[in-house]
């Protein structure tokens, strides 16, 4: 009986030590990435945005992305009209890891496009926060987030996939693929008097997207970092 108790205590100790250590590792990693992102106070970026949503047929647009600490982000199409997914504000990565207080849990290792990543789950401490859970996939070698999945209470789930290039030192991606939830689009009845040309609806969403999911891809051409962005653009 005494031996059993000792074994139990030992297992508990090991578990606490390991999870405590894992949590500490996760916190350190998050802090490292956060410090890197924090070096960017503001930026103005040029890019191209492609939107893929079943009901939306919009051309690729040339956009300007403005960011200012702590969480101002604006995507503008200078030459025309763009449909910008509302959750796209989350492409500002500091929103995810500096947005609110959370508990970071190490969920092990994974691979993304031949890159070893550490999976960390962020559980918000505030029970009423809109974000229920965020999972970030951190490239430990380069100290950048490669992928982030966020589940919210009100606005569905969204996912970010980042590819890095020459701005990796600032933790700024060259390409972001943003996947988000959409609702079915329905026009009010009897307002359009459409021409029935007899064609069937063409499926244009990629196979990896679910029915009510949309995707926006932003490819960044250049960043102007920490040169100031006026508040008027937001």
């Amino acid at each position: 009986m005494m031996n059993m108790l000792k074994i139990g205590m030992f297992v508990s100790y090991v578990f606490i030590a390991l999870t405590g250590n894992a949590q500490a590792t996760a916190n350190v990693l998050i802090k490292t990435v956060s410090d890197k992102i924090d070096r960017v106070n503001n930026y103005e970026a040029n890019g191209k945005m492609k939107t893929n949503v079943t009901f939306l047929k919009v051309p690729e647009s040339t956009v300007k992305i403005y960011f200012k600490k702590p969480n101002k982000l604006k995507i503008k199409n200078e030459k025309g009209i763009s449909f910008v997914p509302k959750g796209a504000v989350s492409i500002n990565l500091s929103n995810i890891i500096n947005g609110s207080k959370y508990t970071a849990l190490d969920a092990g290792a994974d691979m993304i496009a031949n890159t070893k990543v550490r999976v960390i789950k962020l559980l918000p401490e505030d029970d009423n926060a809109d974000v229920v859970l965020s999972t970030v996939y951190i490239d430990e070698a380069n100290q950048v987030i490669r992928k982030a999945k966020t589940t919210t209470r009100e606005n569905g789930s969204y996912q970010l996939e980042m590819t890095y290039g020459k701005y990796i030192a600032y933790g700024l991606p060259d390409k972001i693929i943003f996947t988000f939830n959409t609702k079915d689009y329905k026009l009010p009845k009897g307002v359009t008097f459409d021409f029935d040309d007899g064609t069937a609806v063409k499926k244009t969403t990629p196979d990896n997207l679910k029915k009510n999911q949309g995707m926006a891809e932003i490819i960044f051409d250049s960043y102007i970092i920490n040169k100031g962005v006026p508040d008027t653009v937001f």
Binding site: G80, Y185, D197, G198
Partner: protein, 297 residues
């Protein structure tokens, strides 16, 4: 023949009702422009109500001259047939009513020539009406609201779509759409002319034309499978809105619109063909009936 056409056009230009059509179009267009200038955002909110939580977009920029013209044409092209009928339905019956028809056919011109000239004059009136529509709804809207990318809201089967056409890809579509609308409205002119042969005053053929257009339009917009398959293909009203086909831009495999493309050109071409057949049929029928008609007035 040309002299005869000039005389017919002169007669049309002297009738006050000719200008009612132009005034009505101007009034409707200006009311639309005023309404959208004052409160266009509400319309956008209505059209985008199911996606307003998902997307952010600049509604003010979307209410531009190109969008306005599309909205106005969408509404007006249902009413313009009535305005075309006002003139075309008066072609023969008006002469009969005034007692000038017998005099007219006693001139050294054939009845065929007379019908063709009346039809040509009605067609020219239709073209002028559409030109006026283009000026008021497109040119004035561009002056008032400016130019930007164009949004199209479309229902396709059970699905709804939002199409966005780049501003540099719009003008040719309007030119094509107005050309198509000319053919579509010429069918109405031909129908009115045909009906006017049977009447002694112009009220009857005008009302008959309007009734035919309204009834056929309602049938064309009823979504009942048996009607879709067996009736709609034979109604000219099913093809009146074919001009919209020029704004249904084709997309690539990723759903990105292809600049300068049309989703279904064969459908537009077939619609045009059917409308032209209607015109040919109605004018030919008018000639045949008029040639056999006893002219007593």
């Amino acid at each position: 023949m040309l002299t005869l056409l000039r005389i017919e056009l002169f007669k049309i230009s002297r009738r006050p009702r000719t200008y009612i059509a132009f005034a009505a179009i101007a009034a409707i267009v200006f009311i639309f422009q005023f309404a959208f200038k004052a409160d266009g955002e509400n319309y956008m909110n209505l059209m985008l109500q199911s996606v307003k939580d998902t997307f952010e977009f600049e509604k003010v920029r979307a209410i531009n001259g190109y969008f306005m013209c599309y909205i106005i044409l969408n509404t007006l092209l249902i009413q313009v047939p009535i305005l075309v009928a006002l003139i075309a339905a008066d072609s023969i019956s008006g002469e009969a009513n005034m007692g000038t028809l017998r005099l007219l056919i006693s001139k050294p011109i054939s009845r065929t020539q007379l019908i063709l000239v009346k039809f040509a004059a009605a067609t020219i009136f239709t073209i002028l009406l559409l030109l006026w529509m283009a000026i008021t709804s497109l040119v004035f809207s561009l002056l008032i609201f400016g130019a930007d990318d164009m949004l199209i809201f479309r229902s396709k089967g059970d699905e709804s779509q939002i199409l966005l056409i780049s501003r540099d890809d719009v003008i040719w579509r309007y030119l094509a759409a107005f050309a198509y609308a000319t053919v579509a409205l010429t069918v109405i002119a031909a129908l009115s002319l045909f009906l006017s042969i049977f009447a002694e005053n112009s009220i009857g053929p005008i009302i008959a034309t309007v009734c035919i257009v309204i009834v056929c339009t309602i049938i064309s917009n009823i979504n009942v499978p048996i009607i879709d398959k067996n009736v709609k293909p034979f109604l000219f009203t099913s093809y009146l809105v074919g001009w919209k086909g020029f704004f249904y831009i084709a997309t690539d495999s990723e759903g990105i619109p292809i600049k300068g493309s049309i989703e279904n050109w064969p459908a537009i071409r077939n619609s045009l063909g059917i409308l032209l057949l209607h015109i040919g049929g109605l004018v030919a029928a008018s000639v045949i009936v008029f040639k056999k008609k006893d002219i007593l007035s």
